[in-house]
């Protein structure tokens, strides 16, 4: 058996020494914060145009995380490339020759990549919150208000889980291109459109991103059939399914 600490160290150096790690994680931060600020500023300037209902259910924290809808795409790219690049470069054979215990290699990779994603996502989440609140003016909130700290931490958790979900999917497909081609439009377009279609809404609520976003809200949508912890549970199930599916493929298939 390869020593787990040695494999973790090796995977850490793998992540650290490719450029894609730096730029995907930097993009996740920049896009999330920048669009969060932009949307917060827009909302602040047009707050009086909102309907009475919208003003009453206004979620100041959730608004500052709104950039995550775009920022998550960079997290997806990060997760997909961490796993997929092993296949696109042919490195996987060399990696497996060095660490033939596939489960150990897989979990070491996922652990190191998820930890990296979590650090960046936490920084991103707090940065997006403070930057967003600073332009929301009189409509802003603070971390001390009820549920706000939970929403901020969950926004970081959401980004991390999206990255982990992408790693599992990329391993199941064993291809960066395929995984990107499926995940990007799914999370950027399909679920975003489906939640606005009355009939499809009921199903779309249970998609991983929609469920996960529920845990980042302070004020819950009336039509969402579960609360923040329900959302976390649903998303965690999706992530677990992707990770286990990835493990099954990795163990079962020829490299």
């Amino acid at each position: 058996m390869a020593a787990p600490a040695a494999v973790l160290h090796s995977e850490w150096v793998k992540i650290r020494t490719v450029r894609s790690t730096g730029w995907t994680l930097a993009m996740a931060f920049l896009v999330t914060v920048a669009f969060g600020v932009l949307l917060s500023a827009l909302t602040n300037s047009r707050f009086d145009d909102l309907s009475k209902q919208d003003q009453l259910t206004f979620d100041a924290a959730g608004t500052s995380f709104a950039g995550g809808v775009l920022g998550q795409l960079a997290m997806i790219a990060f997760g997909v490339m961490v796993v997929g690049s092993e296949y696109s470069t042919g490195m996987i054979r060399t990696s497996l020759a060095a660490v033939p215990q596939r489960g150990a290699l897989y979990f070491a990779k996922l652990a190191v990549a998820s930890a990296s994603a979590l650090v960046v996502a936490t920084v991103t989440s707090f940065a997006a919150f403070f930057a967003g609140q600073s332009v929301l003016g009189s409509h802003s909130t603070s971390l001390g208000e009820p549920h706000v700290l939970r929403a901020t931490l969950c926004a970081a958790l959401y980004m991390t889980l999206i990255a982990l979900f992408s790693m599992g999917v990329a391993m199941m497909l064993r291809s960066s291109m395929l995984a990107m081609g499926i995940l990007m439009p799914l999370f950027f377009l399909v679920t975003q459109i489906l939640v606005t279609v009355p009939g499809a809404k009921k199903v779309a609520h249970y998609f991983p991103d929609q469920a996960g976003q529920a845990m980042t809200r302070v004020v819950q949508n009336d039509d969402t059939p579960y609360g923040p912890w329900g959302g976390l549970a649903i998303m965690a199930l999706w992530v677990a399914a992707a990770v286990i599916g990835g493990l099954a493929v990795f163990r079962g298939r020829d490299a």
Partner: protein, 329 residues
Amino acid sequence: MIELAGVTKRYGEKVVVDDLTFHVRPGSVTGFLGPNGAGKSTTMRMMLDLDRPTAGQVRIDGKRYAELRDPLRYIGALLDAKAMHGGRSARDNLMCLALSNRIPAARVDEVLEEVGLAAVARKRPKGFSLGMGQRLGIAAALLGDPEILMFDEPVNGLDPEGIHWIRTLMRDLAAKGRTVFVSSHLMSEMALTADHLVVIGRGRLLADTSMPEFIAQNSRSFVRMRTPEPEKLHDALCAAGIVVETTPEGAFEVPDVPVERLGELAAEHGVVLHELSPEHASLEEAFIRMTGAAAEYRTGPHGALPAQARGAAEDPTGHRGARTAGKDA
């Protein structure tokens, strides 16, 4: 010592590796020979547990590959030159491998020096030539200073200097007592480097023999005779108990009889000769005949051929099988 027992790989209906059983003996260069598509690479991937055999097993010093502790210290393998991350520097690529098998970092610089890549250690292999990529792959194989080294078609696509370098490297490794297992589709390449030969064709074992034995069995020497009186010569030779093969052009090929005796016989019987020449078939021809017989078995009705080819391979004195197979092929 690597042991394969009944290793078989099937993709659906297609049998790529068919019941392979052989040993790679320590302290020598074993050549793994077969035409393109014979199943060499698949076999090597199964030896490293990258591909799972449909049946049979591979043992390395009695263990499965996945049971090896820090496998790079047992076996170093070069499967193909493009098995590194192109966007990570050469040194970092090796560092990742070294860390996972607890090989000291100093060893990374050592092997880079050894394969002549020290100057480009910080460069990304994306821009490497095929030869440099091959050298990086070999650096990875040497990293754990392993007892066993495996190279899959290491000279493919290399320039003459690279080919010379790899041959020298393999001989040096064997001289240091390492076990080297190297595949090739070129008999001439094997004749230069290998002590022992494992020949496969269409996934089947055709020969597992030492190089000198293979040469003795297969470097067929015969005397070529042409005459305007073929019946007379044939009768004369048969009367002397000499077995003759007739070529399609009508010439005779007489194996294992000294050319002097054939000349004397012809003179005794008053047969006019137009040609009397000793010939040697090259090892390359022997290899093509051997694998050609295996190929024919799969596509044609000559069911008996591979058994004969095999018989020749297993029995050091059995000249007949290989020759019969060769003649038919």
